[in-house]
Symmetry: C2
Subunit: 337 residues, 2 copies
């Protein structure tokens, strides 16, 4: 155990505890000689500051939490990396907090029962309502990620789902596809993300003078690639035909790809398909998958930055920001076949 305390260093260096603290924290009014002497004592004793003591004294932990349903989802795994990087630049570390996408899990996160562990939270809700967010939250600074309904008082950052869905759908249409389907949305109540993406999809169809056909909305039962394998497969086996397929996310796209390949349908020749999130895997499937690439790095940075501003006392009204996206063209829906 590193039982060395500030006090021990102070005694060895022959100065007060506070001076040692000043050296450790890089406070500027410390003479060079004192600083060196203290530093030697620190090195000699192999002193490491105890965060808990510090935290108790300052009221800050230097920890923020990042909550979403499940790190097993590649998008979230990649997001956590980026948030870790962004946070460490600002002097914070990230505590992951998974909700499993359930109401209970999300409530637990919001209630934040044992307080004082983190200074603020980044939260991507899936199930909980805006009202509940504003009512339950414990007063901790919070930034909402994603498209879920958000109280006006809170900061939030998301991609423009509508515009992105419209872009990607338009791309398929301009490739010459006329029967463009959509898949990956929930079979039951739509998530905010799904419903915005479907609206963008429909808008693109309208813009290009194509009538939306409700049978071309192919839901999946579970939020896994396998859900899409089954959903898309079942639709095809029911005789539903399409030559373009907008997938709500890359996992759905990967599942859809398999469903089509199982049936001997060539992608992109017979069906062109697109994903969303631009996860690493989408570039190594065969064919690789054309995907909406949100600027996740910007999202992570900006979200962390907004949160830190709040932690440091910013009290303004909730800021709602959009981040950019672009369409990454790959084999599953290239410009020309």
């Amino acid at each position: 155990m590193s039982g060395v305390r500030l006090q021990d260093v102070a005694e060895l260096a022959g100065v007060s505890m506070k001076t040692v603290s000043n050296v450790v924290r890089g406070y500027k009014h410390v003479s060079t000689t004192t600083r060196e002497r203290v530093q030697r004592a620190i090195d000699e004793l192999d002193y490491r500051p105890n965060l808990m003591g510090r935290r108790l004294a300052t009221g800050r932990t230097g920890l923020i939490s990042l909550s979403f349903s499940n790190v097993g989802i590649p998008y979230f795994a990649e997001l956590s990396r980026l948030v870790s990087v962004a946070a460490s630049k600002l002097g914070y570390r990230v505590l992951l907090d998974e909700t499993d996408g359930t109401i209970e899990g999300e409530r637990a996160v919001l209630e934040n029962f044992e307080s004082g562990l983190v200074d603020g939270m980044l939260f991507q809700p899936a199930a909980v309502s805006a009202l509940e967010i504003s009512r339950r939250r414990s007063g901790l600074p919070i930034v909402i990620l994603g498209e879920a309904a958000t109280p006006l008082t809170l900061d939030r950052i998301m991609v423009d789902n509508f515009a992105a869905a419209r872009d990607v759908t338009r791309h398929l249409i301009r490739m010459g596809r006329r029967r463009v389907a959509f898949t990956g949305h929930e079979a039951g109540r739509l998530s905010a993300a799904s419903s915005q993406r479907i609206m963008g999809y429909q808008q693109a169809l309208e813009d290009e003078g194509i009538k939306a056909d409700p049978r071309l909305l192919l839901p999946r039962d579970t939020v896994t690639p396998m859900g899409a394998v089954l959903g898309v497969g079942a639709a095809w086996d029911d005789g539903i035909r399409f030559d373009g397929l907008v997938c709500r996310d890359d996992l759905a796209a990967i599942g859809a790809l398999r469903a089509l390949q199982e049936r001997g349908i060539r992608v992109p020749q017979e069906v062109a398909l697109t994903g969303w999130d631009n996860i690493m895997m989408s570039r190594v499937t065969y064919p690789s998958i054309t995907s909406i690439a949100p600027d996740t790095s910007a999202l992570a940075h900006r979200a962390t930055q907004m949160l830190v501003e709040r932690i440091e006392g910013y009290e303004g009204v909730g800021r709602h920001e959009l981040i950019d996206h672009r369409l990454v063209l790959r084999e599953s829906a290239p410009t020309h076949i």
Copy 2:
């Protein structure tokens, strides 16, 4: 801010702080009437215990860290989930700590500069040596995950790489494959995992009376699926031929699959291939991938359990344990074609 303190609750309930503390902690010698009165006060004030105060007093944080190279790697993402689950059963939360697989990153983890944050660590080293681990570590309880060289004094848990690699290679041979290649290992210095797996692969060849051909070891430059796409592709284009392919991990398998498909080679008819880790994605590629499935859940539970034992004072010699694995048969290397 939840500025309610133990003291406030105590005053409202008309008891001492310590009694409130006892109620909060579920200490048993508290009369029912007192308990109820205190509970009412807690509810009324919406009191939440402050972890830092508690931790400072008890010397425990209830946090353990889990360090590995990168959550973006699906195996690690799945591992973190399982560890979170296991830890929360034992009353701990998990702080993720990525090292990027670099020496510096791993050293930073070991040195654990600001102490007192976590009670112990689970660490999957990739670059750092056993010696360095034992020298640098800060005295915090630690359990090593994976096959890297481990000081004898530390607990460690891993799969039996040798046996698993032998099993999967034997499976390909029994399918009738005679030229079985191996891919996914590092182009430069082999990691411990890679070298054990290669040894198991060679053993299986020997057992079945096949001479190992060094040209059939196809390294990849980067630890990504794309690395395998290039590595396997280049080998094939060089005229190296094989009818079975053992991949060091599922990411390599996914990359290898793409490399083969790009060249019109049918899997498994012309080349049967296998992966390792049994990540979610391996069941939705087309063909789906036969994979070694380590019992990751057991690994997570046992590792967490050993760590908690250490935290609670167990002082025995380092325990080195193996966890089970099984071979999950899928389309890329079924029993019969």
